[in-house]
């Protein structure tokens, strides 16, 4: 277990280095100088030189990479080219909005997805089961940003039930919750389908096990067998799926935040990409990759603890 953990963490650090080196190498390899691209063709040479210096692009590439990691270890991710604010501050300001959005979406998906999966098992083979199956695949397939735009059009623009943009007033929980509903549902919709499908699939395997047969021979009602005895085992693959999927939620958040102008990580990075704000892009990507990689490692270790089959593989 310990060797496994060490290996996973080592791989995670390797990934971070890999990402940053690739990005710097790409900056280096691409023709044209980033300062000119950012400022446009009519910028004065002094302005260009100033910006190049500020982005640290006047140093050799290998030095830039070493410098970046040295600074990153001390919590300094560089400075916003345009506003000169520290990137770490920008990230920390935006992060809570994204994390709240992600966890709300995930919780909603679990609360709705698990019962739906159970219902499909109880009613297996019937029209309800088939319908849940088809709908699950359908909601997985539809892109979350299209769901976001359509729900924005319907609930915010046409019906005016909920706000269209932002994350709500600071300090006003009510308006924050109202601003959270649409984006969270847009992300959650696909996950409801995904989770219900996963719960159904792993539960169908469990339904043939002896302890379920025993429960059934005692004459317990089907819904009780499903919710009490089958779910307990069948939930493990779902937990691992959800833990691994947290990273995928970050991706959906980028698009959904853009639609609802929600000031989170997704909006921060897309704005930075559009204005060619290198330090902000680099810093945010490093932070998000680090978060993503840590979540994946934590999920793998959690699965290794929960699932004896995985645990035994790494015991030796």
């Amino acid at each position: 277990m310990l060797t496994y953990a060490v290996k996973r963490i080592g791989l995670g650090l390797l990934i971070l280095v890999f990402v940053m080196v690739t990005m710097y190498a790409a900056v280096f390899l691409v023709p044209g100088d980033p300062a000119t691209v950012a400022l446009g063709p009519r910028a004065t040479p002094e302005l260009k030189r100033l910006l190049t210096e500020r982005m640290g692009l006047d140093q050799p590439v290998w030095w830039q990479i070493i410098e970046f990691f040295r600074n990153a270890l001390t919590g300094n991710l560089g400075y916003d080219v345009w506003s000169n604010r520290p990137v770490s501050t920008l990230v920390l300001e935006a992060l809570p909005n994204t994390l709240i959005l992600g966890t709300t979406a995930l919780m909603t998906a679990l609360i709705l997805g698990v019962p739906l999966g159970c219902l499909a098992v109880v009613k297996r083979g019937t029209l309800a089961d088939h319908l849940i199956g088809v709908l699950s695949v359908a909601v997985i397939a539809v892109p979350s940003f299209v769901v976001a735009i359509y729900s924005l059009l319907l609930f915010a623009v046409t019906l005016r039930w909920l706000p269209a943009i932002g994350a709500g007033e600071a300090g006003d929980i009510g308006s924050q919750v109202r601003a959270l509903i649409l984006p969270a549902l847009a992300i959650a919709l696909g996950w409801i389908g995904y989770i219900s499908r996963m719960v159904r699939a792993s539960m169908m395997e469990v339904m043939n096990e002896p302890h379920i047969r025993t429960a059934r021979s005692f004459g317990l009602p089907e819904w009780k067998i499903v919710s009490k005895y089958a779910l307990r085992i069948a939930i493990i693959p779902t937990i691992s799926l959800v833990a691994v999927g947290l990273g995928g939620i970050l991706s959906s958040a980028v698009f959904v935040e853009a639609v609802f102008s929600r000031p989170g990580i997704g909006k921060l990075i897309t704005d930075a990409v559009n204005t060619r704000n290198y330090p902000v892009v680099m810093g945010t990507v490093l932070m998000m990759t680090a978060i993503y990689v840590s979540i994946t490692i934590a999920a793998d270790l959690l699965i290794a603890r929960l699932d004896p089959r995985v645990r035994d593989v790494f015991r030796g």
Partner: protein
């Protein structure tokens, strides 16, 4: 030799046809087939189907609601929305097929090498696959786009780079499972060269699942293309893309809501069609890959 191979191939075929018929009798899959076929036809015959040029600007007729002249209305530059949606199918399909094909070839080659080659090389390659696979795809894509600038080329590169590792892993696993089977050992004893063994004997036996996986990734790629184009980071204007149509509609969502409705609809239909077709194909070609599909 060849007659034996033909015989071997024809037996499962004969068993497959009833399943193909069963697949098509499922109304959901039949609709999916229609949607995908419609999508391909639209993309292929766009210049003949589209009533106007997708890039012809007519500012006098901007933001017109749907009418007999413009079935889907016009956008903020007076371009015919229906024509842009039709040409958008072409953009989406082109990018999806090219990037999935590139990723498929890279994944296939590296997977074969990792599975059949020496162990140290396998170790390095698997580490590469794993690190690329555990990247948050969208973050990596945004980073590359910042550096290289938005455009069709960057988009294809980003999609190919982030999707080939899973293909390579699949091919590697299949190759590892087969590399010591009797017929490969026999080839080795006959002193066949590794490329011959890999491409003539191993490849035909490992490629089936890859093709299923590739076809199932097409809707994902269509979605990524549209998403990045929506953010202004995908295909460059004035090339019509469903994502950029959605963005144009989004900016005038209050005055011209029909733009996002008609811009999003083809995207939803295409991803639904491809996804359900992929599900059906998977059940039909390889029942072992079946994961929790309702009976």
């Amino acid at each position: 030799m060849s007659s034996v191979a033909e015989l071997g191939a024809s037996i499962p075929d004969r068993q497959r046809f009833p399943r193909l018929r069963a697949m098509m009798s499922d109304p959901v899959i039949a609709i999916a087939v229609l949607l995908v076929a419609g999508f391909f036809i639209t993309a292929a015959f766009a210049p003949w189907i589209a009533p106007y040029s997708p890039t012809k600007i007519d500012v006098l007729n901007k933001l017109q609601p749907p009418s007999a002249a413009h079935w889907f209305g016009t956008d903020h530059l007076g371009r015919d929305l229906l024509s842009r949606v039709i040409y958008g199918a072409r953009t989406a399909l082109m990018i999806a097929i090219v990037s999935v094909a590139i990723a498929g070839v890279i994944g296939m080659l590296l997977g074969l090498i990792a599975g059949y080659g020496p162990r140290w090389l396998d170790g390095i390659l698997v580490l590469t696959f794993d690190s690329l696979n555990s990247l948050p795809m969208i973050m990596f894509a945004l980073a590359i786009i910042t550096v290289m600038g938005a455009g069709t080329g960057t988009l294809i590169l980003v999609i190919a780079m982030t999707s080939f590792p899973s293909y390579a892993r699949l091919i590697r696993a299949q190759t590892l499972a087969l590399k010591n089977s009797d017929y490969i050992v026999a080839e080795r004893l006959l002193d066949a060269s590794p490329p011959r063994i890999l491409f003539v004997h191993l490849l035909p036996n490992v490629i089936g699942p890859l093709i299923i996986l590739l076809s199932m990734d097409i809707p994902v790629v269509i979605m990524v293309e549209a998403g990045l184009s929506f953010l202004g980071l995908g295909v460059r204007p004035p090339t019509p893309s469903w994502g950029s149509i959605l963005y144009d509609g989004y900016t005038s969502i209050r005055s011209a809501p029909y733009m996002v409705i008609f811009g999003g609809l083809p995207l939803v239909l295409a991803t639904l069609g491809f996804t359900f077709l992929g599900e059906g194909l998977r059940d039909y070609l390889d029942p072992r890959m079946k994961v929790g599909r309702p009976a």
